[in-house]
């Protein structure tokens, strides 16, 4: 359909965005790769020469590496599971007839407006603190010993905080998708005597698969790089050191830019593995 002329016009219109993103990707990436082959210690005089693959070997063989990959995947997976399961349930609930749906919807999306730093601070201090937190008061009310959330259930706590922030997003996408569901199809199934659970499982859920794909794609992109929630709450203690946090520790706490850059390259590789994996699914599901 499109003419040669409109094609070249399209290329020109796309050029600024593509060139800018290419630059934003390539310039820091090149510098990171360059640093990763250097012994670069700012506190010891900066550039101390080339070291080959030393930084890569050291980062990979450090005892903190695999646990950090694991923690990253557990957090991403946990948040995805929680937000999708509760998102579907919540969307189904909000789709029912009720009074004041608009207000309920505002209440549900509000967490999305809160800065990650603020939400981590609020959860850590006002809810999860084992002495003054609201959970501690609640536990004592029922005669239970208050739980020290951030050390005894550290990963779970972080997953909870992050899930709270992302649940609105999942709920809204899924709600929009449910609303577009053909109600006649549901009614027909109801007439045929299909119980509600079956109707949900065989008609609603398959209809949501595209929406769920979008939730997984967008959330994964944001979740792979969460930082503030960990920095504010546990600072990487108690098994919550993600790959991002480990790199932070190498670059800023240990002031070893070379080693941290090697970690950055690993993180980029991990992100790309996840991305390729995601795009396989998304590519199939996003054809419209």
């Amino acid at each position: 359909m499109a003419t040669q002329q409109s094609r070249s016009a399209a290329r020109i219109m796309m050029a600024p965005a593509v060139i800018l993103l290419l630059g934003w990707m390539l310039v820091p990436l090149t510098m990171t790769v360059w640093f990763s082959f250097k012994k670069y210690l700012p506190l010891r005089g900066g550039d101390l020469g080339w070291t080959g693959f030393d930084n890569y070997v050291r980062f990979f063989t450090s005892s903190a590496f695999w646990p950090s990959v694991q923690a990253t995947l557990v957090i991403v997976g946990g948040v995805l599971a929680i937000t999708i399961v509760f998102g579907v349930l919540l969307a189904a609930l909000l789709n029912q007839p009720m009074w004041g749906r608009g207000i309920v919807r505002i209440l549900v999306i509000a967490p999305f407006f809160v800065m990650p730093t603020v939400s981590a601070l609020v959860w850590k201090n006002m809810f999860m603190d084992p002495v003054n937190g609201l959970f501690a008061h609640l536990w004592k009310l029922f005669g239970a010993e208050p739980v020290s959330w951030l050390s005894e259930a550290s990963l779970e706590s972080i997953i909870l905080i992050v899930s709270w922030q992302w649940l609105p997003f999942a709920t809204l996408i899924l709600l929009t998708a449910i609303q577009s569901l053909d109600s006649e199809q549901l009614e027909a199934a109801e007439m045929d005597g299909a119980p509600p659970l079956k109707r949900f499982g065989f008609i609603t859920l398959p209809h949501l698969s595209r929406a769920i794909t979008v939730v997984v794609l967008i959330q994964t992109i944001f979740l792979l790089s969460i930082f503030a929630e960990i920095f504010v709450t546990t600072q990487g203690a108690f098994g919550t050191k993600t790959l991002t946090y480990l790199i932070y520790q190498r670059v800023l706490e240990s002031q070893n830019v070379g080693l941290g850059s090697a970690g950055g390259v690993y993180a980029i590789i991990l992100a790309n593995i996840v991305a390729i994996f995601l795009m396989r699914i998304v590519g199939k599901n996003l054809d419209t």
Binding site: L41, V131, S148, L150, S151, S254
Partner: protein, 433 residues
């Protein structure tokens, strides 16, 4: 009369013109501790005296470190004055990143700075950061709870006495915990406390060949003693408690004893914030009879990054903020108990300050810490609760996370020590020791 007024106005104008000709705007990075926030409140006094304006960048300690270290090592030039500590000063000075502060003038009286502080903030005999306040650590305890337990705190207790008293004071049903100690992971949090405590138990970070010593019996004793004590007599979630969390607990009357920074004394005895202000006693940090006590030495100090365009104005600010006059300014407005402590000898000779209940114990604690000779066995490093080498912060934070996990019961003390030994050895090898 009108002539006099005109004359006054003219003089005021001249002063205004003469100062504003050189007026600069200084950007100062500082930590959000109480004394620094009070200093911000007095900024106008500085501006009135010198004509220079001040832009404050106030950040929480961890964020501050991250910001200033990145900026100075990349030579970003974002700040004209940085608030740093005894750990950073010698390392940065060695890299020639700081402006020497050996020319602050006679009026400033640099000789009045406590020698322990000046020593820790100097490199090769030259002062590179001026102490805003200095601290050691000591025991703060509840006199009423101690009495109720039928015990009496000596001025210089042993760890055995402290442990016994802590267990006797604990009443978990009433949310009274005998002892609050740092457990939150970080080189400036639990590792500051544990390194200083290790000194009293005969432990050290490195031997004279820079070999890590976490496999020693002394470290096993230190860590086991600490974990058992906090399990028996500490608050819940101790492994997440740093200075601020413990301060809050103590002010709410939930701690029997608290061993921490001497500057906390003014906060726990301030009736505006503390519910137990009139029931607090002080004692030296405990020992085990081996010849070293568990107290540390620290100063928050103001340093000027080399390469700043506003060196002269920055020096004026440093002089102002760390002067005797500043102390008097604060005393006049907020009382002697609230002046920044631990930096100047003259403060402890001041008759007004001698009446402050914690003044004597603070000074004794500071004087009993020796950064150049911190441990029982000899070590190659300087620093009581840290080793002043660039790698320390990174290593100690990771070690701190292992110890914190041990305190939370996620691993045994032995496992934590074995991991600490391995990762320290690894990092030291990477750094080329």
């Amino acid at each position: 009369m009108s002539l006099l007024n005109a004359f006054r106005a003219a003089t005021a104008l001249t002063v205004l013109v003469s100062t504003s000709a050189f007026a600069e705007t200084l950007t100062i990075a500082t930590v959000n501790n109480g004394d620094m926030i009070r200093m911000q409140g007095f900024t106008e006094d500085f501006t009135a005296k010198t004509g220079h304006e001040v832009e404050w960048v106030t950040l929480e300690e961890n964020v501050l470190r991250q910001r200033v270290t990145t900026d100075i090592s990349a030579k970003g030039g974002q700040f004209d004055i940085m608030t740093i500590g005894m750990y950073e000063t010698p390392i940065w000075a060695k890299n020639e990143w700081l402006v020497p502060l050996d020319d602050l003038g006679d009026e400033y009286d640099a000789g009045d700075i406590l020698p322990a502080m000046a020593g820790g903030l100097s490199y090769e005999g030259t002062l590179y950061a001026a102490p805003f306040y200095g601290e050691s650590s000591m025991i703060m305890y509840r006199t009423d709870l101690m009495e109720a337990a039928g015990m009496e705190m000596p001025d210089a207790p042993t760890w055995d006495f402290v442990a016994e008293a802590a267990r006797a004071m604990t009443n978990k049903d009433k949310e009274i915990y005998g002892i609050c100690l740092r457990g939150k992971a970080g080189w400036g949090e639990n590792m500051a406390f544990l390194t200083a405590t290790g000194n009293a138990f005969g432990a050290r970070w490195f031997d004279e060949d820079w070999k890590p010593q976490f496999d020693s019996e002394a470290w096993a004793n230190t860590l086991n003693f600490y974990i058992e004590l906090l399990n028996d007599a500490g608050p819940p979630g101790a492994s997440n408690n740093g200075f601020n969390e413990n301060l809050s607990l103590f002010q709410q009357g939930k701690c029997g004893m608290w061993i921490d920074a001497t500057v906390a004394a003014s906060f726990v005895t301030n009736p505006d914030d503390s519910t137990v202000a009139d029931k607090v006693g002080f004692a030296l940090a405990p020992d085990t009879g081996l010849g070293r006590r568990s107290n540390w030495l620290w100063a928050w100090a103001l340093a000027i990054p080399a390469g700043t365009q506003k060196e002269d104005a920055a020096k004026e600010f440093v002089k102002w903020a760390t002067s005797k006059e500043y102390i008097e300014l604060v005393a006049a407005k907020d009382g002697w108990a609230n002046v920044p402590p631990g930096a100047r000898k003259s403060l402890y000779e001041n008759e007004n300050y001698k009446e402050v209940p914690f003044a004597k114990m603070t000074l004794e604690s500071i004087l009993s810490a020796d950064p150049t000779n911190p441990t029982i066995d000899p070590v190659p490093y300087v620093g009581v609760q840290f080793a002043a080498i660039p790698e320390f912060a990174g290593i100690a934070t990771q070690v701190g996370q292992e110890f914190s996990a041990a305190l939370a019961g996620q691993q045994t003390a032995e496992e934590a020590l074995a991991k600490a030994q391995a990762l320290t050895a690894d990092e030291m090898e990477a750094a080329g020791y």
